[in-house]
């Protein structure tokens, strides 16, 4: 009994096999439900319908996936490029913090979906407004986590650096930034999940391509299988992006895993 439980908890094989079994089980249940209650395809397609729909036009769907992927990643990277320096400035200066922080909070309190139509009015139907939307949703978690991380440096380590006569630059790069990395990654992982949502919302509102566009179109023609195919691709993308980050974190901050 105990041996079995420890296999479930600790074996790396179990860590892969069990989620797969869970997934297969869920798909089987879904399939079974559709057949058992004879649900029509336009309400709930079977996994088989969804797969067939995908293979009717794989090139087209992958192209749309690529569009959404680029928007998501570009917006996400942009949020790092913009958010991290702002966070660093906020941490550096109390004046700036007082000046900018409430503004950021207000900005964050706006429901982003409400802004999407405005972005279309201002910037049209291209990729620009989508990237901007992703930036908007990612920005806040990136700034907050970076700022928090920069403030989390233990006082004794700061004192140590000072007792070693470290310059402010050394203190910044060799201590504070390194110490902030785990928290920054926590923020990034939140942000990347939001990023996918952001790009889809933007595509819902006004677009000519992208998976969000495919899904709205399929809704209009009651092609539920196509919508499911789009959704599946989106979740796969989301998972890949998330675990990409987890992998990067594992490479960059292996020492933080200890405290997780």
């Amino acid at each position: 009994m105990t041996a079995k439980r420890s296999w479930v908890a600790h074996s790396p094989v179990a860590a892969v096999v069990l989620p797969v079994i869970g997934l297969i089980g869920a798909i089987a249940l879904w399939w079974l439900a559709v057949i058992a209650f004879s649900i029509p395809e336009y309400l709930l397609p079977t996994p088989k319908d969804v797969t067939l729909t995908f293979f009717e036009q794989p090139a087209y769907l992958l192209e749309q996936l690529w569009v959404s992927f680029l928007e998501t990643v570009e917006g996400f990277l942009l949020s790092i490029v913009v958010g991290v320096p702002i966070a660093l400035l906020i941490v550096r200066s109390v004046l700036l913090e007082r000046l900018v922080y409430p503004l950021l909070l207000m900005l964050n309190s706006i429901p982003k979906i409400a802004v999407a139509p405005l972005l279309v009015i201002w910037f049209g139907f291209g990729q620009g407004p989508k990237v901007l939307m992703v930036l908007l949703v990612c920005f806040f978690p990136v700034v907050i986590s970076t700022a928090q991380g920069m403030k989390s440096t233990p006082a004794e380590l700061v004192e140590l650096m000072r007792s070693l006569n470290a310059s402010r630059t050394q203190e910044f790069f060799k201590l504070r930034l390194r110490f902030a990395l785990p928290q920054i990654f926590t923020g990034l992982k939140v942000a990347i999940s939001l990023a996918v949502i952001g790009s889809v919302i933007a595509e819902f509102v006004g677009a000519t391509e992208g998976l969000g566009y495919v899904i709205t179109q399929s809704g209009a023609s009651a092609d539920t299988s196509l919508a499911f195919a789009g959704i599946t691709l989106l979740s796969l993308m989301s998972i890949v992006l998330f675990y990409g980050l987890v992998w990067l974190e594992h490479l960059l901050v292996p020492w933080a895993e200890e405290n997780r």
């Binding site: 004192e159 000072r162 007792s163 070693l164 006569n165 060799k174 201590l175 020492w255 933080a256 200890e258």
Partner: protein
């Protein structure tokens, strides 16, 4: 080596002014081992930070090696109560951190060799590439000790470096520190609130009283070295001096523990 004249330190805290230290006159000779002993909050850490140049005194003067202290010096090292290791650096590169930060330091290979020698001396050979979290608390504190020795300091300031360790490890490290001290003839100021530690380590023990932190007395400890806490030829001396320190510390000067509650009540 270290000279404090009429040193006082006043903090402007949230609760008003706190006189942490008052009228401290202390002269530590080169190669001497001095412990500062006193109750919690009597200003021991503050005094050490003043000597380290981490804090400018409100009044009086602090000199190290004949020069007034204006900031942290390369020949003075500071060791903290907790190991204060950078968690992403290996043991070796933690030990080398002071050299790496020093823009004037040359000859890094020599320091690397020195680091290996130091780690070997504290029994950490073979652990050079480990990360701090892979070590026990005692091992981490040993790494911290090596780091504070890497630039061959003239003065070592140690703020309760062993207080977070278990009794046995603590005794071991105390013995190691004595050995190092005898080999390198470093001047050491060591903060503790353990009477045992003060008696084993110090040439002189400076007893501080709290609120405001003042020097109560300096107790000479002339027991021959190396000293140990276990079965020892000088049990009588140890008992006599321990008793004396205990008496000084137990004196009811300012009842440290009562005041905060009084404050709460009067509000």
């Amino acid at each position: 080596m270290i000279r404090l004249d009429g040193v006082g330190q006043v903090f402007d805290g949230r609760e008003g002014r706190i006189t942490a230290l008052e009228k401290i006159d202390l002269h530590v000779h080169a190669g001497e081992f001095v412990t500062l002993i006193g109750r919690s909050g009597c200003g021991k850490s503050t005094l050490l930070r003043l000597i380290a140049g981490l804090l400018p005194p409100t009044s009086g003067t602090v000199e190290v090696a004949g020069e007034p202290v204006t900031g942290p010096r390369a020949d003075v090292s500071f060791m903290f109560q907790r190991p204060a290791l950078l968690p992403w650096r290996s043991v070796l590169s933690n030990v080398l951190l002071p050299v790496e930060l020093d823009r004037q330091a040359r000859d890094r290979t020599t320091y690397r060799d020195l680091a290996h020698t130091l780690l070997e001396m504290v029994g950490l050979q073979g652990f050079e590439r480990r990360l701090p979290h892979e070590l026990s608390g005692g091992m981490q504190q040993r790494v911290s000790l090596c780091r504070s020795l890497i630039r061959s300091p003239q003065v070592m300031l140690m703020d309760e470096p062993f207080s977070a360790l278990d009794a046995l490890t603590r005794t071991e490290l105390s013995e190691e520190l004595q050995r190092i001290k005898m080999e390198l003839s470093t001047t050491i100021v060591f903060v503790t609130h353990s009477i045992e530690e003060a008696v084993v380590l110090a040439d002189r023990a400076v007893v501080l009283t709290p609120r405001p932190g003042r020097m109560r007395e300096i107790v000479e400890i002339d027991i021959p070295r190396p000293r140990t806490l276990g079965p020892n030829a000088h049990l009588e001396d140890v008992a006599r001096i321990s008793g004396r320190l205990h008496g000084l510390l137990a004196e009811k000067t300012a009842p440290d523990d009562v005041r905060p509650t009084d404050k709460v009540r009067s509000r």
